[in-house]
């Protein structure tokens, strides 16, 4: 098979599958390892075990139906995926979401980033045998899932951010719930620091493991926390701001050692920065419409349909054939918890996208695993995978 590492078959090397079903591969990733005792000579990732034909399915769905598909790609960053798709379609339509929607989008995208890092941190600890961090991480994550459920009715697959604005307005009690989380979370972060950061076993297993030089990261097109851990302050929220990010003040967290420990610390500090953004966003949620109210892109509210003929026509058009997007193509990317998440959409003027390609961060970041793993031990391979934090739905699309 083309995927087996091409090495000469001397008796010293053993080929082993760290296969699709493995507790430490964060999903259905398969690694074909050429082992010399415990040292990894060659590590070849084989992916595709969760290939779900997203890009082909997009082509047969209307624009508003595609939103529900975007949730299922990077299932730890549903709102981020919705936001990336919504921004791309809005650029095609040449419209902007109303200010209220933009602020709420930033707020929810940052909460999703915290939630995604919590799962990444928890499973990183679980991979290395520390089974308590994941318990604490999921306890805090449940509070975030309650907020998402309050906003959209669904814990994970929210489909809440749609082209043109939001699905519904935020319910009463949303601000208090977010404020409660903002006051509650920083001390929990310190709890994680106390639990893990200075823990001798944790440092022995993480410091100096999976080193990548900055040039290797740039060459392999790595983006996100892994690149920032190599000392390169590249963050799309700062470089190419979208949805109003330029008006929030937050730091781009970087380290220089570029090993697993640095990536862990970057993710921990990023959660603190996200919390600052959430606080600023919460303080400035403006009033006004939560969606473009020309009803060409979003369903008009229920009560308007009964008494306004025009709203009824819009509703009927949207329900049957969806809104038409003028022909053209666009590539717009956001900063997902794993890196640059970009949607490339070609529109042919009909109600369905002609071609949607998603540039996902995990797919590209996973390419540096063979470079990192060569010469290391199997035990270190486990926490290199956790440091890349790949989501297989993101990789295999």
């Amino acid at each position: 098979m083309a995927n087996e590492p091409q090495i000469q078959q001397d008796d010293e090397v053993m080929l082993l599958n760290m296969g699709p079903q493995h507790p430490a591969t964060h999903g259905v990733l398969r690694l074909v390892l050429a082992l010399d005792g415990e040292v990894i000579r060659e590590c070849t990732p084989v992916i595709g075990y969760l290939h779900s034909g997203f890009e082909k399915t997009y082509e047969s769905k209307k624009y508003q139906q595609c939103v529900t598909l975007t949730d299922r790609m990077d299932y730890l960053n549903p709102l981020g995926n919705n936001l990336a798709f919504a921004l791309a379609v809005e650029k095609l339509l040449g419209v902007e979401a109303p200010p209220r929607a933009q602020v709420i989008r930033v707020l929810l995208a940052e909460l999703t980033r915290i939630q995604s890092h919590l799962v990444g941190l928890g499973s990183n600890g679980l991979d290395l045998g520390a089974s308590s961090p994941i318990m604490y991480a999921f306890r805090d994550r449940e509070m975030l899932l309650d907020i998402f459920e309050m906003v959209s009715g669904q814990r994970m697959m929210t489909s809440y951010i749609r082209p043109g604005g939001l699905a519904k307005d935020i319910p009463p009690g949303f601000e208090e719930a977010v404020q409660r989380f903002i006051d509650y979370f920083p001390e929990k972060l310190d709890e994680y620091h106390g639990l893990l950061t200075r823990n001798p076993i944790w440092m022995d297993r993480m410091v100096g493991v999976g080193k990548l030089t900055a040039e290797q990261c740039l060459e392999l097109g790595v983006t996100g926390p892994m690149l920032r851990a190599a000392g390169i302050p590249r963050d799309l929220r700062k470089d190419m701001p979208y949805s109003g990010y330029e008006s929030y003040d937050f730091q781009v967290v970087t380290r220089t050692e570029s090993d697993c420990y640095a990536r862990y610390l970057v993710r921990m500090d990023e959660m603190r920065e996200s919390l600052k953004i959430v606080q600023q966003a919460l303080n400035r949620i403006p009033d006004g419409p939560y969606v473009l109210d020309d009803f060409k892109h979003a369903y008009p509210p229920r009560q308007l349909i009964s008494d306004q003929m025009e709203a009824l026509i819009h509703h009927f058009k949207l329900a049957t054939e969806g809104y038409r997007v003028p022909p053209g193509e666009v590539y717009s990317a956001i900063e997902s918890p794993r890196g640059e998440l970009g949607f490339y959409i070609v529109a042919d003027g009909s109600g369905k996208p002609y071609r949607v390609h998603v540039r996902t961060p995990s797919f590209t970041n996973l390419q540096c695993l063979p470079v990192m793993a060569k010469g290391g031990f199997i035990a270190d391979l486990v926490n290199m995978i956790a440091a890349i934090d790949p989501i297989m739905g993101d990789v295999d699309r």
Binding site: G19, P20, Q21, H22, P23, G27, V28, G48, Y49, L50, H51, S52, G53, K56, T57, T68, L69, R72, Y75, L76, V119, I134, M135, F138, R139, R141, E142, L145, R155, M156, M157, M392, G393, D396
Partner: protein, 159 residues
């Protein structure tokens, strides 16, 4: 399956009931998270929903030690033979829960890449709707499975 086959007449019914009662006490699931439902499966085994109350918190890494295969996520065509092999490598008695729409029927993905329902390749005991199903639904599925095991008849179907 096992001791029940070897015993004569009415004694077999009693022993089967006893065996069923023993088997449903602690069902060890296999750690095989496929996609989004796996994250909800993890939430179900964490503090808030706590699958440990039903004896299933020990997610075994290998099929050799697990009794229950929770198919949590969409099964792609590339993953189908692997899943069948995992199911075969589990010792008897074994059960399967198809968690979520994608495992039960292909769900949102009616296309070339996804197996339209995992019951095409392995016999499924419990189907859970939802995308992803809430952790409580997974716990209720576990309860239903326990009821099913309790009333599982011996090979002569006398329960």
């Amino acid at each position: 399956m096992g001791v029940e086959e070897k015993l004569p007449g009415s004694l077999q019914v009693i022993v089967t009931k006893l065996a069923n009662w023993g088997r449903q006490g602690a069902i060890y699931p296999l750690t095989s998270g496929l996609a989004c439902c796996a994250i909800e499966m993890m939430s179900a085994s964490m503090g808030r929903y706590d699958i440990a109350r039903f004896g299933s918190e020990a997610f075994r890494a290998t099929p050799r030690q697990s009794d229950l295969l929770i198919v949590s996520g969409r099964v792609s065509m590339k993953m189908a033979p692997v899943l069948r092999r995992l199911y075969d490598q589990m010792p008897d008695p074994k059960w399967v829960i198809a968690m979520g729409d994608c495992a039960s029927s292909g769900g949102v993905f009616n296309n070339y890449a996804i197996l339209q329902g995992v019951d095409r390749i392995i016999p499924v005991d419990i189907y859970i709707p939802g995308c992803p199903p809430r952790p409580e639904m997974l716990l209720q599925a576990l309860q239903t499975l326990k009821m099913k095991i309790l009333h599982e008849g011996d090979i002569h179907g006398r329960i």
